[in-house]
Symmetry: D2
Subunit: 142 residues, 4 copies
Amino acid sequence: MSATEMALDETELRRIVETPPLHRWLGIALTEARPGEVVIELPYREELLATPEPENGYVHGGIVATLLDLAGDFALATLVGRGIPTIDLRVDYLRPALPGRALRATGTVVRCGRRLGVADAVVVDAEDGRQLAVARGAWATG
Amino acid sequence: MSATEMALDETELRRIVETPPLHRWLGIALTEARPGEVVIELPYREELLATPEPENGYVHGGIVATLLDLAGDFALATLVGRGIPTIDLRVDYLRPALPGRALRATGTVVRCGRRLGVADAVVVDAEDGRQLAVARGAWATG
Amino acid sequence: MSATEMALDETELRRIVETPPLHRWLGIALTEARPGEVVIELPYREELLATPEPENGYVHGGIVATLLDLAGDFALATLVGRGIPTIDLRVDYLRPALPGRALRATGTVVRCGRRLGVADAVVVDAEDGRQLAVARGAWATG
Amino acid sequence: MSATEMALDETELRRIVETPPLHRWLGIALTEARPGEVVIELPYREELLATPEPENGYVHGGIVATLLDLAGDFALATLVGRGIPTIDLRVDYLRPALPGRALRATGTVVRCGRRLGVADAVVVDAEDGRQLAVARGAWATG
């Protein structure tokens, strides 16, 4: 993490990633941060399942969307210096997120303007690295 | 609810709405269902907040996205007869979801084809009815 | 058209709808305008086809997207007073646009803020009224 | 172009890129093709402008969307063997497309399933390489 180019230091970034109530309930952890890019992880827990039976179930797409949203937001936060409101988010689900697996999300800034930022995010299975979902969104940087 | 036109009865619809682990943790409740349209509600709980301080905080956009996804999915389920995989979802956030307020989501089918369904969803503050977010998505009906 | 509530008069709206070079090449015509809503039409011409053979062809989705973009933009223009830049646009194609048919698009404002506007648009076959595509987008109102 | 891995040969790909009436009117040219990726170009012409005055004008976003749609579609065509219907397309406009400049679009497959394909596309100014717009969409591969 090149602190000199980051718009906020790692302590502050970690605070906005890990302290909000939902993030704590989910157990979101910041694992990497560079200017314009972050990696976060979400541990598995059974309450995330979208299906009554765990054995042939999958993690809810809304949880995957939450992770994608956070990854894009924090990627922009490295340049803007704070968490910022999401304007819109578009998620493509590629494969189901299997029960028992942690998820890893990478957020990458596409463009960071004075009023508007665009970022991409991808969620992979943390164990085998397979892409599960991709997203792109717009955030209010102003 | 006009059971003769629904592709699944209310007991079965209620089961797929209310029994999956995430839905139970969130406390999702089915309040209305007609062929091609459902209304669901989400009670407030502090774990949903995206911000460290509840007083000037708001409910996480990922939770709002989850609710929009479910509303669209269940609207299609009334015609298809079962919950179906989300292909993609696009959410527009219009206003923050304030702490302490229940949320109400309405899902409406735009088109239900043999392979692909498109649905709209809107989330409002259950108390004052203000639109907080709208979404549109594609689901695999085949 | 209730001119007292429109942010621009019909002459000015018609100018931004009908005079830009692409709009003239396409033959875009303004048919209705109210505060927050417009209806525009696009006549058929063979150059719009996406397929080498007209008989089993269809109008290009990019042309349909153009019409949806314009409808959303002009709907916001009725409130903002001028054409505004599109931030993002998401189009769902429901049915092919058949050769020989004019297209009609309606744009409707979802929310018009000081910096950001959201609008919906729908394109129908002007002859039989069938929905061919729907869109939602964000525009910079600031 | 590694013809052994392409699902259609270059002659056939060039036919679906360059012969449909709209593509001919626009002057779309195929410049590169590999399995899962294509590059196409669009020459400038004044009829593409969205603004009455060329000097401070820009090319219409609907034309940029058309180019993005084609790039994603043809990228999938290299794997599927034919042009395929667009299900949905989401475009983010990053910077205006200036008058007088050719546009270059690259389409890249994200995932190509039996029924559904997802592709990304980017449009750059062909002269200076600046990103003008990005898109992601879903196509029916079945």
